[in-house]
């Protein structure tokens, strides 16, 4: 559903107008044109090349995080749980920040929407307000999800699910192969119980979209004769 971006400004409460400045590390009237140019450059979404580089770097970082968690959990299960939880929270925050970044309106567009003028033509105080609003929206996730953004998210989720499906099946098959054929005679039954739980979880995850569709899809209308 489309959302009117104008409403963002109309809905803004006095709290954000009066107290919002506290949340932003820029004081009114302290930035010159060069600093503003840097701020504007930084505030734009990174180019695809940079984003892809970050995505590629993320995979080894994640592998390292998992390795650290596995190392810690063998020493102390509680410490392992805490370490994994901390890393998952950090990753969640990073993913959230990226998602917000994609839906953020640029400073230039904000200037036009807010004051009806180009960013360069604004007064220093107005530039500060535009920037602060952008930072606040980024921090608190106050971004508008319009139809394009919603579709992009849906498409990304679909692609992730399509990758996840075969990956989970391969993981479960590998787990059972190691569990049944590996030299774990003493712990085989415990491993098999875990394997059974994982197998059913994977089956539920993979069946979930179809189940949801069965629940939500409306009935087909009955065929009517032409001319009726």
């Amino acid at each position: 559903m489309a959302v009117n971006v104008n409403n963002v400004n109309k809905e803004r409460s006095w709290f954000w107008k009066k107290i919002g400045f506290w949340f932003v590390p820029v004081k009114r009237g302290t930035l010159g044109p060069e600093e503003w140019a840097k701020v504007r450059k930084l505030s734009r979404t990174a180019k695809r090349r940079t984003r892809r580089l970050f995505t590629l770097l993320w995979a080894p970082a994640l592998a390292l995080e998992i390795a650290v968690s596995l190392w810690v959990v063998r020493i102390d299960p509680w410490a392992g749980l805490m370490s994994a939880a901390w890393l998952v929270v950090l990753m969640g925050l990073a993913v959230r920040a990226i998602r917000i970044g994609f839906a953020q309106v640029s400073l230039e567009d904000r200037a036009v929407m807010e004051y009806g003028a180009e960013f360069d033509a604004l007064k220093e105080k107005q530039r500060g307000e535009v920037f602060q609003q952008a930072v606040r929206d980024g921090l608190f996730g106050r971004v508008k999800i319009d139809e394009h953004e919603a579709e992009q998210r849906l498409r990304a989720q679909g692609a992730a699910y399509r990758l996840l499906g075969p990956a989970l099946v391969v993981f479960v098959a590998g787990y059972w192969a190691v569990c049944l054929l590996g030299p774990f005679a003493a712990t085989r039954s415990a491993l098999a119980v875990t394997g059974m739980v994982v197998t059913w979880l994977v089956a539920l995850v993979l069946a979930a979209p179809t189940m949801i569709r069965m629940w939500t899809q409306p009935d087909e209308p009955e065929e009517t004769a032409a001319g009726e």
């Binding site: 489309a2 009117n4 971006v5 839906a103 309106v105 640029s106 567009d109 036009v112 579709e151």
Partner: protein, 82 residues
């Protein structure tokens, strides 16, 4: 199927910013950019809103086939009138 549009031309013609058009039709300004570059096919609802904003029929703004340039069309019109 990709959908071609004349949004950039219409916007330039009417000196309308991306933000202003976006605000009027209820999307983010970057969505207008994606539409203009052909990176996004709008919903029917959005296509009609945009056409309505410009006061044109939807087929004058969106087309499944590439639009001919306005200069070509104007030239042909002149030729036909002559």
């Amino acid at each position: 199927m990709s959908l071609h549009n004349r949004i950039a031309v219409l916007r330039a013609e009417r000196k309308l910013s991306r933000a202003a058009l976006a605000s009027s039709v209820g999307v983010n300004p970057q969505t207008i950019g994606f539409l203009e570059r052909g990176d996004y096919t709008p919903s029917l609802e959005l296509a009609f809103k945009i056409a309505e904003h410009f006061g044109l029929p939807v087929e004058a703004v969106f087309s499944p086939r590439p639009f001919r340039t306005l200069s070509e069309q104007v030239y042909e019109l002149h030729k036909r009138e002559a």
